[in-house]
């Protein structure tokens, strides 16, 4: 029986889909059997980021409305045999599926996979309710901006209400030079406000945009710093203890953070 992990953030544009795609791929890279589920119905993106758009035959709505079987709708990745994706529908909207239907669907997927990664839409409405319905665990993605941290805080409160008690935090798109000049929220300030476990920090990296445009998750490119960060997060999901990455060559900057999390 696998674990269902929802990737959520509240605010849009902080990198939920990118994180979902890269974590799914990284876990597959480590030999796990993974299924990614896109619940952003009406605005599907995960297939584009994964480069699987042209392989879609059926989608999530087709499954819940009984037009096909679940395994007919699963799209197999072109790089890994053990990586699948359940695409969202592009024509309908979030209200065309209920949390109960999604929960049943995730329950059906869990026995066949080690990890089910659920890509959540932005917002806290029906789409969010659908995405968290079947989840056992949650990863909250934020960026070092006040607005994103506010929304992450709101989401954590809602997750706690749903019974997903200890979500994990990913701080995405950190710019080391802005951190250094004090123009960006510090990692430990964010952790202090949100008061949940940090599972990874990801530096801002042009390779992420490049990869997404080519349908190739960044995590496949070991020269990218973001790729290493995503791989580290995947390793932490698997239970390994991996120190937080240094965001710049001259180390010491995150010594405090590492110490704070007992990894120093």
């Amino acid at each position: 029986m696998g674990a269902a992990i929802v990737v959520t953030s509240g605010k849009g544009g902080v990198g939920k889909t990118t994180t979902s795609a890269n974590l799914g791929t990284a876990l597959a890279l480590m030999g796990k059997k993974v299924c990614m589920v896109d619940t952003d119905i009406g605005l599907r993106n995960l297939d584009v980021v994964m480069g699987l758009e042209n392989r879609i035959i059926y989608d999530l709505i087709d499954v819940v409305e009984g037009r096909c079987r679940l395994n007919q709708a699963l799209v197999k990745d072109k790089r890994f045999d053990e990586l699948y994706m359940l695409p969202a529908a592009q024509t309908k909207d979030k209200n065309d599926v209920s949390p109960e239907q999604v929960r049943k669907l995730i329950e059906e997927l869990k026995p066949d996979f080690d990890y089910v990664i659920i890509d959540c839409p932005a917002g806290i409405e029906q789409g969010f309710q659908n995405a968290v319905a079947g989840a056992d665990e949650a990863i909250v993605v934020t960026t070092p901006e006040n607005a994103a941290v506010r929304d992450a805080d709101r989401i954590i409160g809602l997750l706690e209400k749903k019974g997903i008690a200890s979500p994990k935090l990913v701080i995405n798109r950190i710019r080391p030079n802005m951190l250094k000049s004090g123009d960006m929220l510090e990692v430990d300030d964010i952790c202090q406000v949100l008061a949940i476990d940090l599972i990874g920090i990801v530096p801002d990296d042009e390779n992420v945009i490049k990869g997404a445009n080519h349908g190739e998750p960044t995590v496949m490119n070991p020269a990218s710093r973001a790729a290493i960060a995503y791989r580290n997060i995947a390793r932490r999901i698997l239970g390994e203890t991996v120190p937080l990455m240094h965001l710049e060559e001259k180390s010491g900057m995150f010594g405090r953070v590492k110490k704070f999390f007992g990894m120093g």
Partner: protein, 219 residues
């Protein structure tokens, strides 16, 4: 007796104010009152003097109040106008004054609303709100909105280990840091109203501000 007098007599425009210590026991207080009045018998003869008795945070039944009244009245020219106790006025100001202890993080979009006082063990994050009819004590960081004395308890206070709120409200007074004030003090602070204006002070000064702070006083 510890040498310090349990009774202070002050002259005001209207007459005299007797400030009675609220810590010593009532019998010795009455004895001392008696002794003090006897001692000054001759000086205290003359025209009628209005006397206000202040009990501090001591609470007395009608019977005991009458004993104070009669002790003072024996001095022919003294007229006891009123006997006041802080405890009574405070109780009247905050009905259902009960301390609720909650351990939680009040996150964005969440609100805690209570009748009585609140002791919150945890933070209030930006976008979160705590509101109650009495005082608010936060063991943690206050980053959101705290509203004490809702809706009209102007005597209420807000205390927090880390005072960096979005807004503070006491009764109907709203204060917006950092436009109005900032706090980066290393000690714990509390906000209160003075003449309708929000003020900050060290928490260790709270007992100057209000004699009876909490119900578990004296325990």
């Amino acid at each position: 007796m510890n040498g310090k007098s349990a009774i202070t007599i002050k002259g005001v425009k209207e007459g005299l104010v007797f400030l009675l210590d609220d810590q010593c026991d009532f019998v010795s207080l009455l004895d001392e009152l008696q002794a003090k009045l006897d001692k000054h018998e001759q000086q205290l003869a003359g025209p009628i003097v209005h006397v206000t008795v202040k009990l501090g945070s001591r609470k007395l039944g009608e019977e005991d109040k009458e004993r104070i009244r009669s002790a003072i009245r024996r001095q022919g020219n003294f007229l006891v106008q009123s006997i006041e106790s802080d405890a009574e006025t405070e109780e009247a100001a905050a009905p259902g004054n009960e301390m609720h202890t909650i351990a939680a993080i009040v996150r964005s979009g969440q609100t805690i609303e209570l009748v009585g006082d609140l002791l919150l063990i945890g933070d209030v994050n930006p976008g979160g709100t705590v509101r109650c009819t009495g005082d608010i004590y936060i063991m943690g960081a206050l980053r959101g909105i705290a509203h004490a004395g809702y809706p009209d308890g102007t005597g209420a206070i807000i205390a927090a280990s880390r005072m960096t709120p979005t807004q503070l409200r006491i009764a109907d007074v709203i204060s917006r840091p950092p436009e109005e004030w900032t706090s980066s003090e290393p000690w714990m602070e509390y906000a209160y109203l003075r003449d309708g204006v929000m003020e900050m002070d060290k928490l260790t000064h709270l007992h100057h501000h209000r004699k009876q702070v909490l119900h578990f006083k004296g325990v």
